[in-house]
Symmetry: C2
Subunit: 98 residues, 2 copies
């Protein structure tokens, strides 16, 4: 395989990554609604640690566990930002992005 072949493969993977990241974000939004209804806090450090631990457990490389952890920290951050946005717009204020 040449450079263009590998890049095409990356482009296919990236399409799936965008889909999965959005599917994940949709789940997080549903969880946010349930938490809001039950008046429990959005931020649950135990669950976050569990998510990070699972990601490392499932990691077989070539990414290092540290790299996987950094990526999932960012994924969790963005999910939380989307939850906050959704809460604010459902309570009548503007979304602060897009």
């Amino acid at each position: 395989m040449n450079l263009s072949d590998w890049r095409r493969r990356i482009d296919e993977i990236d399409k799936k990554l965008v889909e999965l990241l959005n599917a994940r974000s949709q789940c997080a939004l549903e969880i946010g609604k349930l938490k809001q209804a039950a008046k429990i806090p959005l931020y649950q450090p135990d669950r976050e640690n569990e998510v990070l631990a699972n990601a490392e457990t499932n990691n077989s490389g070539p990414l290092t566990d540290a790299a996987i952890r950094r990526l999932f920290e960012r994924i969790i951050d963005e999910a939380r930002a989307a939850e906050r946005d959704a809460m604010h717009s459902s309570s009548g204020t503007e979304k602060n992005e897009k």
Copy 2:
């Protein structure tokens, strides 16, 4: 669906994300080898911009384009770190992580 159901769904998505991120990293490593053999630079800003633009084009939400861009910037960073690691270990030095 209750909180545990949504979390289970997130755990399934995360498993696939870890797989895809590693598959992507493997492609980037192959590209790194081809670049090294052809003596072309690892960092190619045009290709990075293309990857970011593709990710935004494929984005149908709920994540904002800005969130998708931040996530892919991190994904690209980690891919480059893995390429650098691989180059250094193939030239005889220690991997600096894991």
